[in-house]
Amino acid sequence: MSDTSVAQTGEPLKEGLAGVVADYSADKTAFQVPWGKAMMWIFLLSDTFIFSCFLIAYMTVRMSAQDPWPLTSEVFSLSMGGQPIPLLLIAIMTFILITSSGTMAMAVNYGYRKDKKKTFYLMLATAILGASFVGMQVFEWTKLIVDEGVRPWGNPMGAAQFGSAFFMITGFHGLHVSAGVIYLLVVAFRVKNGFYERRGNDYGIVEVAGLYWHFVDLVWVFIFAFFYLW
């Protein structure tokens, strides 16, 4: 009853476009994946549109701003040994998020190998990296608000729209990372405590959590390109 895939009819699944037609016209199941995964993908699709709205709004206000847009590589530079290095903190944050994406991919892989211990530690590492990303973002916000005087309604460097766009986009992304850290920790400790082992030894949920985490990384790729580098 729980197995919705392959064998409702016993026939082999078709591939390519014929497979699309067959899947969509199926009586019960369109997507041949566990329901959790299909729902996560649909949630991520809707989230894609939310982040797109933010980034498109940012494009619109930046295009229509009369004052010059603040130079991000100067605003986000960090002094190392008395010499400012452009975007240093942002670069470190980018590498941390990529590293966490890698550990998450490993965790998913070991989950499917039923290796409880490795899955747990890799997910824990992912959550710790995510938490340190949020910590760096707090540092970045503090520096911007306290030292540089950036506010949602204006800033000393140029176009007033810079502040609101920055706080909305990175704030919403930071919220996603924070939620992801909690989600990962919950799943990680359930893996460790044998919660999934008792439920048919199925670690598909690790992949679903992984999809969310990779999406957070994916959004950062776009924010990095459009907000920090452009």
């Binding site: 894609t48 598909g204 994916l218």
Partner: protein, 120 residues
């Protein structure tokens, strides 16, 4: 299908390294202060390479069935229309501001053009 997505670890390692290298490249674009067309072309290329590999390999999209691939990957294409509409809107707002809200020390092109037409 019940075993889900299981792939050799080497694929993940190579994509991981590739993401690091490409991120290094896009950081280098800013570090060496490349400007103009070259800058945004490179930013977009590196961005799409990274986004593509994360979706295809880390999120296992390559190995999913086509029905799921189409359901997830086709709708975002319509965002291109949204971007186009809002780019026109942003441009229009900018021109309107130049026309009506500019201080007297800056004379917009359209007014200069109008004076020339009157002059002749």
């Amino acid at each position: 299908m019940s075993e889900g997505q299981q792939h050799p670890l080497s694929i993940y390692y190579s994509i991981w390294i590739l993401l690091f290298v490409v991120s290094g490249f896009s950081y280098a674009v800013d570090y060496y202060q490349l400007q103009g067309t070259l800058r945004w072309t490179l930013i977009l290329i590196f961005m799409f390479i990274k986004a593509g590999f994360i979706t295809a390999i880390f999120m296992h999209m390559t190995w999913e069935r086509m029905a799921l691939q189409l359901a997830i990957l086709v709708p975002p294409i319509f965002l291109m229309i949204f971007i186009g509409i809002m780019a026109i809107e942003g441009d229009y707002t900018f021109l309107t501001r130049i026309e009506f809200f500019t201080e007297s020390d800056f004379v917009p092109f359209i007014i200069i053009l109008g004076q020339h037409i009157n002059f002749f």
